[in-house]
Amino acid sequence: MIWQLDLSVLTLIVICAFATIMVKDLLSAAIIFGAYSFLMCLLWTEMGAVDVAFTEASVGAGVSTVLFFAAVYQTSRKVGARKSGRLLSKAFALIAALLTGLVLVIAEADFPGFANPFTPASLHLSPYYITQTLHDTNVPNMVTSVLADYRGFDTMFETAVIFTAGLAVIAILRRFKKEDRHDLPEPYVISEGYPDTIIRFVARQLVPFIQLFALYVVAHGHHSPGGGFQGGVILGASFILLAISFDFKIVLGIMSERWNVLLGNIGVLIYAGIGFLCLLLGANFLDYSMLSKVLPATDKIMARSHGMLGIEIGVAIAVMAIVISIYLNIVSHGKYDKGL
């Protein structure tokens, strides 16, 4: 960590958070929230959490801010006028927030010192990961090896949570039959019939690079920051860029709804399937070392490395499909005929 940058970036973050809450226009709040996410990414980088920073970079710049914009476009930008009866509830909320802060400040006295290498969190489990990663799995990026191997079970259910979120969005918004759609509002369309050649040209040049870069991130996650989550989000963001600069239809032409949901399933299935394959080969669930029996010319250590790669690919496919699905549902009000 670099404490000079730490102090400056944290101060900027607090200003951004205050502004996001105070500003009385939802579009502006979403824009300032974008700046907030940029600063967050800087904070993680400066504290040495490169993988977290990469995730924040791809999520904040590519997906979450755009989802906010989409929601604001489809509903309304206005924040209602202040009413007199609200003052009491605001006072209660302020008291509750201050009480929570007070409890946390009291608890802060017992926290281990910041940037102390001998905190309890860094003494018991993580030294094993740090010293043994290269020996056990031949993967220099500890975060990848802990994510996909040592704590692979955890990550599998995280992927399942994201998959469930995608299903929930479909269940809430999507109307499959045309006759059910009479009460739906007309989606707000920005790209349809808008002949901006410059933006279209640049987007068309950039999208292949973004997708190639995403594949690189997935494949190179063992040796540098990156991995399945980041690559999947970047792949999804490339489709979002296509949808914004061209048309809603062009994304549906490349990735129809059927394929999208199918890919989400396939991603989670690849993850669980590799786990079951290990089970069939006589090891524990998600213990990739037994994969050396199936994979040609690999010893047990390299088999763990290759097993991780398989899992990252599954995660990337699932995350990409879910991100696209959430975006398409929100921008088209679940109608899938036109949208942002």
Partner: protein
Amino acid sequence: MTLVVILLTLTGLVFFFATTIGILRFPDFYSRMHAAGKGDTLSSLIILLALVLYNFHDINLANLLVAIKILLIVVFIFMASPTATHAIIDAGYEASIKPWMKKPEEES
């Protein structure tokens, strides 16, 4: 070599500073956008060039790869940043923001 790096970085910083002054002080949206679009792209080019020089201290494959990646960042900033500027200015034009005049128009 170090001197060149320091000089380039400081030049970039000066341009960044000019950009920020422009963003803060210009009177209307179009002139602010002019400062933001031009200054940002140029100063990012200069600072990133300085960082390429600094990291390219001895010639081997890894350093070459890093240099190429940083230059790729420059290329993408040169593609994306002017387009973003164009998009924002277009939005401002569509939203019918009036350009600033030296003599304020008569009150109507």
